[in-house]
């Protein structure tokens, strides 16, 4: 779960990323400005993306001189262990997510003819349909539980499962970034930062096994706390193969 500390890390890392984008795209602009001057900003390309929405593949098509459209799918399956606390108990949690979507996005390069870095700047707007949007957290105690003089092993205490599901599958998307950064004659890459807005609040289900049974009463509390959890930041890099 994000803490104040992790929020700060997030912000610092974001600033570093933006600076790096500016530096690298600026260098590429100096070097390749006269070499790559397409009639249309977006070329017909297959795009592979990697980022916080997972991995994806898209087909990109030019639309007009400054605009294009890309559509495709991305999947985010991941699992990671973290140590957290719940109340007075230290827990070891395994968090996993299954966020699968198909999307259609309109891209627009507002300044394709300027000579600065801004000629690579693009804005995007679209929507995704999430056919699966679910995160699961499985938590177990990190230490044995002591009841009177009886020591109950942490395994016997049981597992608490928390499942967060977005039931409303349609999510508007917007982002800004830099595209068409030169790699080779037919290849380029881009960077973008944006967000999905999940149009429905998440639903939370909790269940416990063994001695953690009954903790499902916490589900409405978590659901209330997460009711404003709508924005899903998307940071990604994409590699384009033009044809």
């Amino acid at each position: 779960m994000p803490t104040k500390h992790s929020h700060m890390q997030y912000r610092i890392a974001f600033l570093v990323l933006v600076c790096w984008i500016a530096a690298t795209t600026g260098a590429q602009a100096q070097k390749n400005y006269y070499y790559k001057q397409p009639a249309k900003f977006f070329s017909k390309a297959i795009t592979f993306s990697l980022g916080s929405q997972g991995v994806g593949v898209d087909l990109r098509l030019p639309f007009s001189e400054p605009a294009g459209v890309h559509f495709g799918a991305s999947i985010l399956p991941f699992s990671m262990p973290v140590n957290t606390s719940m109340g007075k108990y230290k827990v070891r949690s395994v968090m996993s997510a299954e966020m699968y979507n198909v999307h259609l996005v309109l891209d627009w390069a507002p300044f394709p003819h300027t000579e600065s870095i801004m000629r690579k700047f693009t804005g995007s707007f679209g929507a995704a349909y999430f056919f699966k949007a679910r995160t699961k957290v499985e938590s177990k105690l990190r230490e044995n539980y002591v009841y009177g003089e009886i020591v109950v092993s942490k395994e016997d205490v049981g597992t608490m499962r928390t499942e967060v599901t977005f039931k409303n599958m349609l999510a508007p998307y917007f982002s800004a970034g830099f595209q068409n950064i030169y790699v080779g004659e037919y290849t380029s890459f881009g960077l973008s930062a944006g967000a999905y807005y999940m149009s429905g609040a998440p639903q939370v289900n909790m269940s416990g096994t063994n001695l953690l049974e009954g903790n499902e009463v916490n589900a409405p509390v978590v659901e209330r706390n997460m009711s404003s959890y709508r924005w899903w930041p998307v940071l990604q890099v994409n590699f384009n193969y033009e044809f």
Binding site: G87, Y89, A97, M99, Y147, N215, M226, S228, V234
Partner: protein, 542 residues
């Protein structure tokens, strides 16, 4: 890689302001112990006893804790809670056993054998400790004193329990002249006064028979001389007596020469060997019992003689203990299960029952339990090979079934319970608990035993009957009359016994234990209750 994962995770957990775990209270259930036994310790007059010294012993004693998870065994409000360590839950076909010794000044000590087996997670065992100064009807207690000369009895003396307190029969002990008295180590005791306690229990009096040593006529610790290995069996006593003597502070265990004991028999004794009422010339077994060991030992056979119109068995012994003249019947080697049905029973309701196993018109074992239409199997071990009858009463004492077991050691018997004369409407009770300074009620509620009685003055703590086991704060029952009758309740949770007095119940009742408006914190010692609530909430991190 880890950094990448963290980024992905942070992205998935959509950035926002509220900690998702704010106000989340993780609770670990207190229902850690799966097998429990509740000893209801009373004085035989319906009064619960406390301040009792408790010692747990036996082969599985080290696995036994209180329901609070400690080894600090205390009888509170007449209740001793015992629980099995969850790592030792019995497998199918396996039985755990241990003994509870109860000692209290002014009362006869008891050693109770407790068994735990798969399928019997909860059991309630009634235990009666005999108050020597106020024995109930059916028990004669005499405490004669005999002058000695430097520890020597100068001339023959006969002492008796006396015909008293509803007991026409007596136990008489004749000590020959020149007898000296020895302690447990065989050392002669020197003193000027021999203080004796002779207790004669009338076996045909059911209340008196509750004092039977070990709490049940069934024992798995019977040594049939000349064999030395204990066997299991069931007694049918014709006479039962306890003889104790002391000189000063030292207990007499043996004598320099045999003493003669004459035990007058209950004329209502049904001799299972002859199939008729006892008569002169019958042969009966004589057994002795040491409370310290819990072992019944065969002494000899005795012939019934008629002395002055009283059927009597006379024998000699060189030691003191409990003695009985009886039939002894071997036990079934297998567990016997009883499936209890009743067309009048409603699904989801708990019915509190008393199960009595009987032989020769005597209750040989009493169990209290609650059943539902789904959880309705009772298991009993060591029932006699023949002659068993199962009698089932409801909480008011009304007999719902009397079933003679036709076969020998039948593994499963179905018993139909007759409809009680009064079946109340369903009453449900739901208890919630809210910790101080918290908005939400506790989600994980304890399982505890709940007793009830019709309301009485609070100073009177007797007469509570089992309402049932409240599971996760909820119980549904037909034992209470809603709307008109005021009840007192006694709840036993772990080591804690709490009372709630003079409550009229509705059909559906819910209450929240807490300090807020409209919540319940109790009228007896509310400050202590609140402190206890705070302490427990703190203990469980709430």
């Amino acid at each position: 890689m880890k950094i990448t994962r963290c980024w992905m995770f942070l992205s998935v957990i959509l950035a926002c302001c509220t900690n998702p775990l704010k106000d989340v209270e993780v609770q670990i259930s207190t229902n850690i112990i799966h097998f429990s036994a509740l000893l209801e310790v009373q004085d035989g007059n319906g009064n619960p006893l406390s301040d009792i010294n408790v010692v747990v012993s036996g082969q599985d004693a080290e696995k036994i804790y209180t329901l609070g998870g400690t080894r600090n065994f205390n009888v509170q409000g007449g209740i001793l809670t015992l629980g099995l360590h969850p790592d030792s839950d019995p497998e199918p076909g396996m039985e755990l056993r241990f003994s509870i010794r109860l000692d209290k000044a002014g009362y006869l000590s008891q050693l109770i054998s407790v068994y735990m087996m798969e399928g019997q997670e909860q059991q309630i065992i009634p235990v009666n400790m005999l108050p020597l100064a106020s024995a109930p009807g059916g028990v004669a207690v005499a405490t004669p004193g005999i002058p000695l000369q430097g520890g020597l009895l100068p001339a023959e003396v006969t002492i008796s329990s006396g015909a008293q307190n509803g007991v026409a029969e007596e136990t008489m002990v004749t000590l020959p002249g020149n007898t000296t008295f020895k302690d447990n180590a065989g050392v002669t005791i020197v003193g000027e006064l021999l203080e004796a306690t002779i207790i004669h229990v009338k076996p045909s009096n059911p209340a008196a028979l509750n004092y039977f040593p070990g709490g049940s006529l069934i024992s798995d610790n019977v040594i049939q001389a000349p064999n030395t290995a204990p066997v299991a069996g069931v007694f049918n006593p014709a006479a039962l007596a306890n003889v104790e003597m002391r000189i000063g502070s030292q207990e007499v265990k043996t004598f320099s020469q045999p003493v003669t004991i004459a035990m007058q028999l209950d004329p209502l004794f049904y001799n299972m060997t002859t199939g008729a009422l006892v008569k002169a010339g019958d042969q009966l077994s004589i057994y002795s019992y040491e409370t310290a060991t819990g072992i019944w030992r065969f002494e000899s056979m005795g012939t019934v003689v008629n002395i002055s119109g009283q059927l009597t068995v006379v024998f000699q012994t060189d030691h003191l203990s409990w003695f009985q003249v009886c039939n002894f019947i071997g036990s079934c080697p297998n567990t016997q299960s009883f499936l209890l049905n009743g067309g009048w029973m409603t699904a989801g309701i708990k019915y509190s029952l008393t199960i009595e196993a009987m032989m020769a018109n005597k209750v040989i074992l009493t169990k209290k339990t609650d059943i539902t239409t789904k959880d309705n199997i009772i298991k009993i071990n060591r029932l006699p090979l023949t002659g068993t009858t199962i009698r089932i009463r409801n909480e008011t004492g009304e007999i719902l079934a009397t079933h003679s077991l036709a076969g020998s050691c039948t593994p499963l018997t179905t018993i139909t319970l007759n409809r009680p004369s009064v079946v109340n409407r369903k009453v449900t009770m739901q208890l919630y608990v809210r910790c101080p300074n918290k908005t939400a009620a506790v989600g994980v509620l304890p399982t505890f035993y709940l007793y009830y009685r019709e309301a009485r003055p609070t100073i009177d703590v007797s007469g509570y009957k089992l309402l049932g086991v409240v599971e996760k704060g909820y119980i549904s029952t037909t034992m209470l009359t809603s709307g008109t009758v005021a009840y007192d309740f006694k709840a036993v949770w772990g080591d804690i016994v709490k009372y709630s007095h003079n409550k009229v119940v509705a059909a559906d009742n819910s209450a929240t234990v807490g300090e807020g408006e409209g919540e319940v914190i109790g009228v007896i010692d509310p400050q202590n209750n609140l402190e206890m609530l705070k302490e427990k909430c703190k203990e469980y991190g709430l």
